[in-house]
């Protein structure tokens, strides 16, 4: 109703015509990791339910999470979790009005990528 000028307004630049940049790629990865974590989250909830139900059910859930495929999913999720955590931290910093300069934003982008890989490696070694 308020849109009397529909169709004649300028379009904002969108994904298809943007050259990928560190800031855009790290942003897209934040979305992908955050939503993909549903898979491992449900697996972990299933693991808890199985542990609370019976030894047989637990054996199945344990096998599901520690098999080759399960381990691959968990390791990938571990990186996704650290990545999303660091990227979220970056968003909290941005929301407070800090680090919005392109140079700082790019530095934080690399910090998220490298930091998430390092933290995943540390977690795998400790756990």
């Amino acid at each position: 109703m308020t849109d009397v000028n529909r169709g004649k307004r300028p379009l904002s630049p969108h994904l298809a015509i943007y050259r990928p940049q560190l800031t855009s790629v790290t942003s897209i990865l934040t979305r992908i990791t955050g939503n993909a974590l549903l898979v491992s989250s449900l697996l972990v909830v299933g693991w808890f339910l199985a542990a609370a139900t019976s030894p047989e059910y637990f054996a199945l859930a344990d096998w599901l999470l520690t098999s080759n495929l399960g381990s691959a999913v968990m390791v990938l999720s571990l990186w996704g979790l650290w990545y999303h955590t660091l990227a979220g931290l970056r968003h909290l910093i941005w929301d407070s009005g800090l680090g919005l300069e392109i140079e700082t934003a790019e530095k934080m982008g690399w910090a998220v990528v490298i930091g998430s890989l390092a933290l995943s490696l540390i977690t795998i070694i400790i756990v």
Binding site: M1, G34, L37, V45, F48, L78
Partner: protein, 123 residues
């Protein structure tokens, strides 16, 4: 229509609506998860692959049980809000509504299942 002033037509049609509450809810849950995720990783992680009786004994302890319960709850509340933004960006109309309702159901279902399981392990 044309008797309305521009201002009158614009009032109430802002893009935010309940977006502020949504944004704030995600901020709060993200700060919570910033603390919970490392705690959960280093309590739950080492138990993965352990025998059943060890897992049972471990989650009988208050700290790991409370961390796990909080992590599952806050994670899925955060997911519920986050996935709604994802859906709203790419899907519209009836399918959008169905997907959002479905994902809210999945989120609360996972929270209830997780809390039930942990309560049973801990008590």
């Amino acid at each position: 229509m044309r008797y309305l002033t521009d201002r009158k037509r614009a009032i109430g049609a802002g893009s935010a609506k309940t977006g502020t509450a949504h944004f704030w809810a995600m901020k709060v849950s993200s700060v919570g998860l910033l603390i919970l995720i490392p705690l959960f990783l280093f309590t739950f992680g080492p138990r993965l692959g352990e025998p059943h009786d060890v897992v049972l004994a471990y989650f009988e302890r208050p700290f790991p049980a409370i961390v796990a319960a909080l992590t599952i709850t806050v994670s899925f509340l955060h997911f519920k809000d986050g996935v709604q933004v994802l859906i709203e960006d790419y899907v519209h109309g009836r399918v959008q509504k169905l997907l959002i309702v479905g994902m809210i159901c999945v989120s609360y279902g996972a929270i209830a299942t997780g809390l039930f399981a942990i309560a049973r392990l801990a008590l």
